[in-house]
């Protein structure tokens, strides 16, 4: 069995089961590219569901979007109305899952938005979706996992 990845991105749409071609959820292509590399990919579209998955499963790597609704879990955190949800959650993961590498996969073009993540030991890469199509992301993941 391939390594297990958790892909957290609200672009998977309101109903995760509809994250298939035709559902206008382009993140499906990213998930498929990773599956093509034999990874076992779990996709979630909210922080709350991510926490549920993390509570019941072990993951070898987490791919995390930056701009997402904070959900109940981060309702009290300073997420700047969801603009920094990924930044805050990556910070929490550094404490709760310090050994699990995190890759930020974002549409945000301004590097200052994720400046605070630089140098954090659990955040291995910050990839912009505009410059990293699915196959490139899959290659980056393989490199981080040392395969």
């Amino acid at each position: 069995m391939g390594k297990r990845l958790l892909l957290i991105d609200d672009e998977f749409g309101a109903n995760q089961s509809e994250s298939v071609p035709g559902a206008m959820a382009y993140m499906w292509y990213y998930a498929e590219a990773l599956r093509d590399m034999t990874y076992e990919v779990t996709v979630v579209n909210t922080i709350d569901r991510a926490l549920e998955a993390l509570a019941t499963q072990q993951f070898d790597l987490i791919l995390l979007d930056l701009m997402m609704p904070p959900g109940k879990a981060l309702a009290d955190a300073d997420t700047a109305a969801g603009m920094r949800t990924g930044v805050v959650f990556a910070d929490r993961l550094a404490h709760s899952h310090p050994d699990t590498p995190v890759v930020i996969l974002t549409m945000v073009a301004n590097p200052s938005a994720f400046q605070s993540l630089r140098g954090k030991p659990n955040v291995k890469k910050i990839l912009q979706k505009t410059d990293h199509p699915p196959n490139w992301v899959a290659e980056e993941v393989r490199e981080i996992l040392g395969e």
Binding site: Y29, A109, N110, P133
Partner: protein
């Protein structure tokens, strides 16, 4: 209530002003142009004079908050702030309020009695402490509008007679002089600082709104001599009020977390709000939860109005005092409001521009994000289709995929240009990484311009030569640059070379050559196009400027490509300039040697 026992009013000795009655008074030359001559300081000097002349034990000057009908103590003689315990009193229930209502001198022989209308002397402890027995209240009226009370002067006596009614004429005469002095100083400060603002703003006009609001904050702080100033602007999109600029050397805004509430109140009510004791006054509803123990924060909020009269933001000023040590409580008054309003009015025209800029940036942000989604989705879907076709063995015209890929790259590049346009070149954020220029920057840029080469007929079967050739690029080692932005630079240079070529398509040639010179690593871009007119070599790098040849040969463009390209190179600590005007036209991209060892420092500023 705060313990103010440690508060005092140690103020520097002022030059003695020759107060006199009307004709006997000389306006002190030192007064004009000195911003420290606030109403409080003028009143202190005045109190010093009248207590001496009339043999009073103590005196207090009150400034009027006409909206809330509250008197605010601004100057003392023979009393310290700590003795007052609270320095605001409602006009309706204090003896001094009588002078506001009647605009006449009032004498109160017995400070311990309560009048039939409920008014009484609010500082019985002070009367006991200093043995005060009587009080005279002198209203200071606006010389131009006798219905307006500017100040109230209270003179206290201890076991001696109050100035008799025969002294009224002289007291009023002194009051007229005081009013004239206060108004003249106030007018002087309003005009001087309001006039200074456009000059200060002109120095940062090309910068972002934050900097402009920072200039306003700094000027207001200088004008009224307070501890901190914040400028809030309303965001139309989010219906919120954001702190955009501040001048806060003492870090008050970092300590106080609830300041935006008073700014919000001022904004939503479109009127000024004075809080003498923001940190402690529970009735104000502002909490002041962030203040340190014993810290008292006074604030004034004045709406920033657009030319149309709409409230577009707020200027907030703060003064902090500690209840221990030698601190002095410095409340704000309506004179401060007048100065802030004058500066705010002077800012109104620029505010329109700033807000239009903000709206433009917000709209572009939204548009850019909306555009990125379909571009990313298109590229991802295209990649998937190509993969599936390849794995399933379909025989397909893969050139079509390549073309779609190139066009999606072009869309991506345009998005990056849009990002730079909306952010402005003064704050280009970099994502530097160790990069081999040929493989990661020049080759991809050449790939991006291929559709343009094909369209212009420079890259076809009729032109067997490679239209773009490289030479000596191996002289440049791996450098720490932002590959995406540098690719944009090279693309813009190639794009220009293609657009400005008017000769035989089969003869189009461009040479990209590397060099390691003492000044830095250099990449020369040479072409044999129409060239650059003498005198245009410098101005073509300015925003919106296009060379004379652009018009002559009807070349499309907005005049931003070279401007952006140079800004990006300068952000890396390098430069982009014209090496040769014609035959060949040569652009030189120079990068510092230091980039082979590490990324450019963050403080490289782009000179616009």
């Amino acid at each position: 209530m705060t313990n103010l026992n440690q508060l005092s009013t140690p103020r520097a000795e002022l030059p003695d002003i020759a107060w006199g009655c009307g004709s006997g008074w000389n306006q002190p030359a030192a007064l004009w142009g000195d911003r420290s001559w606030t109403t409080a300081r003028i009143c202190e000097s005045f109190l010093d004079h009248v207590t001496r002349e009339f043999g009073c034990a103590a005196a207090c000057a009150w400034s009027l908050d006409p909206v809330n009908q509250v008197l605010i103590a601004v100057a003392f003689k023979g009393i310290v702030t700590a003795d007052m315990k609270t320095i605001t009193i409602k006009c309706s229930d204090c003896l001094s309020g009588d002078a506001v209502d009647r605009r006449q001198i009032n004498r109160f022989e017995d400070l311990h009695s309560t009048r039939p209308d409920g008014r009484s002397f609010k500082y019985q402890h002070l009367a006991q402490l200093l043995g005060l027995t009587g009080m005279l209240s002198l209203p200071v009226l606006n010389n131009a509008n006798p219905n307006q009370v500017l100040l109230v002067i209270d003179l206290y006596v201890a076991d001696s007679a109050l100035p008799p009614p025969t002294a009224d004429e002289r007291l009023f005469s002194l009051a007229r002089d005081l009013a004239a002095t206060v108004e003249a100083c106030l007018y002087d400060r309003c005009i001087r600082y309001a006039n200074r603002l456009p000059i200060a703003l002109a120095q940062v006009r090309k910068a972002n709104p934050d900097r402009q609001c920072g200039v306003v904050a700094r000027l207001v702080r200088n004008a009224i001599g307070c501890d901190a100033v914040g400028v809030y602007l309303a965001s139309v999109e989010r219906a919120s009020l954001d702190l955009v600029g501040k001048d806060d050397p003492g870090g008050l805004y970092d300590r106080m977390t609830m300041l935006n509430f008073s700014a919000m109140n001022s904004w939503s009510s479109s009127r000024e709000l004075l809080h003498v004791d923001l940190g402690q006054n529970a009735q104000s509803g502002d909490g002041g939860e962030g203040s340190t123990q014993g810290e008292i924060v006074s604030s004034v909020c004045v709406p920033l109005q657009a030319l149309s009269g709409q409230s577009r933001g707020v200027i907030q000023c703060l003064n902090s005092s500690m209840s221990v040590g030698e601190g002095t409580l410095h409340p704000f008054t309506y004179d401060d409001v007048a100065v802030i309003e004058a500066i705010g009015r002077s800012f109104s025209p620029q505010l329109e521009v700033v807000q239009a800029d903000q709206q433009r940036i917000e709209s572009l942000n939204r548009l850019a994000h909306e555009l990125r989604v379909p571009v990313v989705a298109f590229r991802a879907a295209l990649e998937r289709v190509r993969n599936e076709c390849a794995t399933k063995g379909y025989t397909f015209q893969f050139e079509h995929f390549e073309e779609m890929g190139i066009y999606s790259d072009v869309m991506n590049r345009l998005l990056k240009e849009l990002d730079l346009m909306r952010r402005g070149t003064h704050s280009i954020p970099l994502m530097p990484q160790q990069t081999y220029l040929l493989r990661k920057i020049i080759a991809p840029a050449v790939r991006f311009v291929r559709p343009l080469l094909i369209k212009a007929g420079f890259d076809s079967s009729k032109n067997p030569k490679n239209p773009i050739t490289y030479n000596k690029l191996d002289k440049i080692p791996d450098l720490y640059v932002d590959p995406g932005l540098m690719t944009q630079v090279v693309f813009n240079l190639l794009d220009n070379a293609i657009k400005y070529y008017q000769g035989d398509p089969a003869e189009f040639n461009m040479l990209i050559e590397g060099s390691n010179s003492p000044e830095g690593f250099e990449v020369f871009f040479r072409d044999w196009g129409v060239g650059i007119e003498i005198g245009d070599a410098r101005i073509i790098f300015e925003q919106g400027v296009r060379g004379r040849n652009a018009h002559q040969f009807d070349v499309s463009g907005e005049g931003i490509g070279l401007w952006l390209a140079r800004a990006i190179v300068r952000r890396h600590g390098g430069d982009l300039f014209v090496g040769c005007n014609r035959n060949p036209t040569e652009f030189v991209l120079r990068l510092p040697h230091s980039l082979q060892y590490g990324p450019p420092p963050d403080n490289f500023m782009v000179d616009e």
